[in-house]
Symmetry: C2
Subunit: 413 residues, 2 copies
């Protein structure tokens, strides 16, 4: 937890309502941090289904291995998350730790080990001693309560400067269901589940296969469309739990992926994930400005996304924004290096609503003064139209500042 | 030209001898910079052959377009390079400028327009007015002299803090030939001809097809194995000119690619390009440390290079080195995100000669004190052994410092 709040932090935080069938507890185990909570458990009533997407790193953390294995069962009774140590690249000890934790967690929640999900975030490569926190789990599960979402968001933070919350409601078959989500993440953020943890729960009754399909689809335009520094974590985890308790109030129970009754729920889930993902970017290490990069006119949507990511990950574009410089030449460079179809002489570029370049050269009518004024804002929109097709994509990132270097130059030592 | 010399600058500069058949002139045209030279011409006696490799950007600069077209002829009479303006993304005006420059240059050198080669470096997207310097070319060509290599290296600099020179000799059929090279480049450096210009000349007699084959092969392990910030320029140009004058002293004239008599020459060319490429990295914007990343044990050499580049381009690895932190967890992360075959539990990592991790976990015998002492040096070697095969590659990069952000946050404005 940084002491300096990001200037892009939300002005107000939403109050997350209880989700029927979910109880939460947090504890201060002193894994790395002092005087703060660093263990969080979410206990689910029997019958909750679960979906998850994870890092594509070839060197995933031990908790990611465990979650992937347990996801096959589709049922969840307890989630245990710790901050301060990622239990990643910890060899055989990593698995010893997850096994010990899963055993204690299953016992605490009264479920099976295959219904336990774990996540760890923090330093890589240091063994995580389960003895530091497994003895707390029984009491935490017993004392867990429904109205502790605010505490949950805080306990999972690492270098975050603020906790991330989002909530939404949707109707399924005429009955309101709720979706709550929390997230952490500030650096090592890139698509494909960037160094980021996020946990979302709903009281909707949606079976695991339908839940998984929904999550996999929604992640593309949300968490997989944000990047802070192009670095992908070994631990990225996004999980969605559905307790099914809304069925008691008459909500339809959905079994199949693609069920039309999920339409409104899908939109609400998108808004929750989108909010959390953008909160992560806005808390990017050292970030002073949020940058939305939109690419239009590409050969395909996939091509547009690759070009958008090339722009969003370019250190030269990101430092230019930090310097409040509408340096569209660097945007051209980033379009060119993406390797995707592009035609220099059809390219047009906007900063905000100001078209600074078109048909492959500077737009002679653009006002340098207006552009400079625009660049002083803290939300910068960059648009590049490739002029070749209808492919479109938006990704979000933040600027690259001296503070990013300072934060990451002495994080571990 | 920066006023602060890179701490990694060479302690001494080599004196480049004249190359028979090459004459050089520089001038101060005031294109952008004041009180310094910013135009350089290299005039070749009739009969010189030429080879070149260029940026793979989909939005190349107008001079790159011209060089690619003229390379087909295989003959060079004059090279004209300016700094201060890249003539990139300048629409139709870009071509008007290169045509006007080529016309004046051909006349000045007494050759054809198809024997003219151009390069421009500096700001992107601003029209380059040829009237600023074409009137100088006739006098420059007339007054060009053989012993002006030092001036040539200085005239092509932009944010470089020192000029880059390299020279070597080799025997072809028992006769000594000389290779001289200059380069510029400091930011926007990535493989595939990173924002970089380099011009190399030799008196060897090598026909264009053989020269091109040699250059294309040698660039892989030299200029295409360095990265400063993963950003690829619109203007990257590496050209090799062979005047053939050594034939008068009895050097064999080589016509075919793969001629065995080129063996020693190929080694000398590799040493010149390697020296220039590493000088570019050591002058990376804000660089305080040079980082050599070696990957061994990958499935293939290509896989090793992709993993090495993933490590070398990781902002988290680069900031850790800037902070003198042997943060091998971030190396694991970068191996994992490369998308190449890797097995967490076979991975071993070294900083210098110190093995910090093996078999997927921290090496318990490594000394934190010795590692900290090692990280204080200005040449850091990182090695990752993947443990899966025999693929090997080395790439060079530099650390990411606050100065990189400062330099690039207010370069244009």
């Amino acid at each position: 937890m940084s002491t300096t709040l990001s200037p892009l932090a939300p002005k107000t935080q939403p109050a997350l309502p209880p989700i029927d069938g979910v109880r939460i507890a947090t504890a201060a185990a002193g894994i790395k941090y002092k005087n703060r909570t660093d263990v969080m458990t979410m206990v689910f009533d029997a019958g909750a289904s679960v979906a998850g997407v994870f890092t594509r790193s070839k060197c995933p953390s031990a908790p990611v291995d465990l979650c992937r294995a347990n996801l096959a069962g589709g049922r969840a009774r307890i989630l245990v998350v710790n901050s301060g140590n990622a239990n990643a690249f910890t060899g055989k000890k990593g698995k010893t730790t997850t096994t010990a934790t899963a055993k204690a967690a299953a016992k605490a929640a009264g479920g099976k080990q295959s219904e336990v999900f774990l996540a760890s975030t923090g330093v890589i490569g240091e063994p995580l001693d389960p003895a530091k926190f497994v003895h707390l789990l029984a009491a935490m599960a017993a004392e867990a309560k429904a109205d502790a979402w605010a505490d949950a968001g805080k306990a999972i933070m690492t270098t975050d400067t603020y906790p991330k919350y989002a909530t939404a409601t949707a109707k399924i078959g005429g009955v309101d269901v709720t979706i709550n989500g929390i997230a952490k993440g500030a650096g090592m953020i890139a698509p494909d589940m960037a160094t980021m943890l996020s946990f979302v729960a709903t009281d909707a009754a949606i079976a695991a296969p339908a839940l998984q399909a929904l999550l996999a689809k929604t992640v593309k335009g949300t968490f997989n469309a944000v990047t802070v520094d192009s670095d992908m974590s070994t631990s990225d985890t996004l999980m969605l739990f559905a307790t099914g308790k809304a069925a008691r109030r008459g909500a339809a129970a959905i079994d199949k992926p693609g069920d039309g009754r999920l339409k409104e729920f899908a939109r609400a889930l998108d808004s929750v994930l989108s909010s959390l993902a953008r909160q992560v970017v806005r808390d990017g290490e050292g970030a002073r400005k949020e940058i939305a990069v939109t690419v239009t006119g590409a050969k395909s949507a996939a091509s547009a996304k690759r070009i958008a990511l090339s722009i969003a990950n370019s250190p030269l574009v990101k430092t230019a924004v930090a310097g409040e410089d509408a340096n569209w030449g660097r945007v051209v460079m980033a379009v060119g290096k993406a390797g995707e179809p592009a035609d220099r002489d059809r390219l047009a570029i906007w900063f905000g609503d100001i078209r600074v370049a078109h048909k492959g050269e500077r737009d002679l009518s653009y006002s340098e003064a207006a552009t400079s004024a625009y660049m002083k804002g803290d939300e910068i929109a960059i648009r590049a139209d490739i002029g070749l097709g209808k492919g479109k994509a938006t990704v979000w990132t933040c600027d690259l500042t001296k503070d990013y270097v300072a934060i990451n130059g002495d994080y571990r030592s």
